[in-house]
């Protein structure tokens, strides 16, 4: 009787611990990373950071950014061109230049831009590969690397 109670208690404690661990240690299964999230991790995260807030004086925040959530084609053109300022923004104060990402495919850029427009509290429309392709027609010839 006592042994059974102890076993029950042990099972109960074990379950509680497992639940607590899951809550604390992030053991709850995460949804698989999307293509956009993987591309962000590879190309953007080291500068714009995991929370999309950038680094003050270094790289701008994309979280809550007004122009990041603005015209999709303008954003695609800027990300493919790189530089300090997009066509629609001429006031950046951060020190580090953004490289050009023209080497990414239309489909990858669409996934990536959709991701940054819909994460970090942003709530803009998805970007299609067709919109990226359209923006790409305005991209000049590739500079010498």
């Amino acid at each position: 009787m006592i042994a059974r109670d102890l076993r029950r208690a042990a099972v109960l404690i074990g379950a509680c611990l497992a639940a607590a661990c899951a809550a604390v240690g992030g053991e709850t299964p995460q949804p698989p990373a999307t293509a956009g999230q993987l591309l962000y991790g590879k190309h953007c995260l080291s500068c714009h950071q995991a929370d999309g807030r950038g680094v003050r004086n270094m790289q701008p925040a994309i979280a809550g950014g007004t122009w990041v959530q603005g015209d999709a084609r303008a954003l695609a053109l800027f990300v493919m061109s790189g530089g300090f300022d997009s066509a629609s923004r001429k006031d950046s104060a951060e020190g580090n230049v953004m490289p050009a990402f023209r080497q990414l495919s239309d489909a990858d850029l669409a996934e990536l831009l959709t991701y940054v427009r819909q994460r970090f509290g942003n709530g803009a429309s998805a970007v299609s590969a067709a919109e990226v392709a359209e923006a790409r027609t305005n991209l000049g010839p590739a500079p010498i690397s």
């Binding site: 991790g41 590879k42 190309h43 995260l45 080291s46 500068c47 950071q49 995991a50 929370d51 807030r53 950038g54 680094v55 003050r56 270094m58 790289q59 790189g82 300090f84 951060e94 020190g95 580090n96 230049v97 953004m98 490289p99 050009a100 080497q103 500079p143 010498i144 690397s145």
Partner: protein
């Protein structure tokens, strides 16, 4: 029996809580070696950079919002009088004789320090101005020797002198034209006014950005800890991965000699291999070494991206003997280690004897950053950026997040 057990548990808990509170009160939540305590001098002047302390204990603080003068009138370490002054928003602040030398991104200036005045009322004079306006590595930190020779850090407006800065696969410009006007230390007569960069001479080169630059009066020599390069992984993914980028490019501590070349952008000191390697932009393969003897090896190579932002040789009298003439270095903390955990965000002590390292560095003050949510530098609670020694031998530390300034003191036990 049971009552006494509970009583003991409760009293132990009370002691633990009281103990924790006592520790927090003594160090403001910082982790310090035994016998040291910290008091908050001031907070509220905006993001701080460097600072200096006058012989009478008055503190001069620089930062993005401008300069301010702080005075503790009752000796408790806390500033009772705070006076913003002047119109220079920048980083460096140094007292030299009866002058307060300060800098912004394009010049070095000075204010007269008159007896009895806290905030200078005299006119600002220009020592050197008209450095080109740049957006990257533009802070003109400087050091002054005992004669007033002015050594200015002119950081390179570039990561690694690529044809296209920070562009994946872009190769290095060779020779790097940036080195003609940047990426080194330029020397001036700091007692002359209204100079331009043309009045200076390139003293040393191959330094990406030597924010932490200091004259060592005991050695009569110049020293610097240099910000190493970023992004070897994203720029050259076939050669380096994210862990390599987070760990291999040392933050190099050098004695800076006239005519010295410290290797940027052609090389960096690989702390994993323990030797200098050719940068990937210049044909490096992640192990190839440059010609022997061409570039100085560092006295110490600190971990990648820690961001050394101030250097100080301890000349005070109140810290234990081992600190005498040793080097304190304020590491502002990393951003480019992401997605690996960020690091730095601490004040380190490097033991020195006769101007050379005499042992392994140790962490002196830590706990600035807090839990830094999302591994994001902007979420750091504090970031140490400036160091100074007061007349009583206390070490002052300034923070760039909130502008907090601490006085760290030692009490013999």
């Amino acid at each position: 029996m049971r009552i006494s057990f509970i009583a003991r548990v409760v009293s132990a808990a009370v002691v633990a809580v009281a103990g924790a509170a006592a520790v927090a009160a003594d160090t403001d939540g910082l982790t310090l070696p035994a016998g040291f305590s910290a008091v908050v001098v001031e907070e509220g002047q905006g993001p701080a950079r460097h600072l200096d302390v006058a012989a009478n204990g008055d503190i001069y603080l620089g930062g993005g919002n401008g300069l301010s003068a702080l005075r503790d009138t009752n000796g408790d370490g806390k500033a009772d009088v705070v006076k913003p002054f002047g119109d220079v928003k920048g980083t460096e602040v140094r007292i030299f004789k009866d002058w307060l030398y300060v800098s912004d991104d394009v010049g070095v200036y000075r204010y007269p320090l008159k007896k009895g005045e806290l905030a200078p009322t005299g006119a600002r004079e220009t020592v050197v101005s008209e450095f080109p306006k740049e957006r990257q590595h533009a802070d003109k930190t400087f050091a002054l020797d005992d004669k007033g020779t002015l050594f200015i850090n002119v950081g390179a407006p570039s990561n690694s002198c690529q044809e296209r800065d920070r562009q994946e696969g872009s190769l290095g410009r060779n020779p790097c034209p940036i080195l003609e006007k940047y990426g080194g230390v330029w020397v001036f007569d700091g007692t002359k006014l209204n100079q331009t960069p043309a009045n200076g001479r390139r003293f040393a080169t191959g330094m990406r950005n030597a924010v932490a630059i200091e004259w060592n009066p005991a050695q009569k020599a110049l020293y610097a800890v240099i910000h190493g390069r970023d992004s070897i992984d994203t720029l050259f993914p076939a050669l380096y991965n994210a862990e390599d980028n987070a760990t291999r490019q040392g933050e190099e501590f050098h004695q800076i000699v006239d005519g010295g070349n410290y290797g940027w952008p052609y090389t960096f000191f690989d702390t994993k291999l323990g030797h200098r390697v050719i940068a990937p932009e210049y044909g490096g393969d992640a192990k190839k070494e440059p010609e022997a003897g061409k570039y100085a090896n560092p006295l110490v190579a600190f971990p990648a991206h820690w961001a050394p932002n101030d250097l100080l040789f301890y000349s005070g009298k109140s810290f234990p003997a081992k600190y005498q003439n040793g080097a304190f270095i304020a590491f502002h903390g990393s951003w480019n280690r992401a997605p690996e955990p960020q690091a730095g965000y601490k004040v380190v002590f490097q033991p020195m004897k006769d101007g050379k390292p005499s042992g392994a560095y140790e962490v002196f003050a830590d706990g600035f950053a807090g839990d830094m949510k999302d591994n994001s530098p902007d979420n750091a609670r504090y970031r140490p950026v400036g160091l100074a020694v007061g007349p009583d031998g206390s070490l002052y530390v300034a923070d760039s997040q909130k502008g907090r300034v601490w006085r760290i003191a030692y009490a013999k036990k």
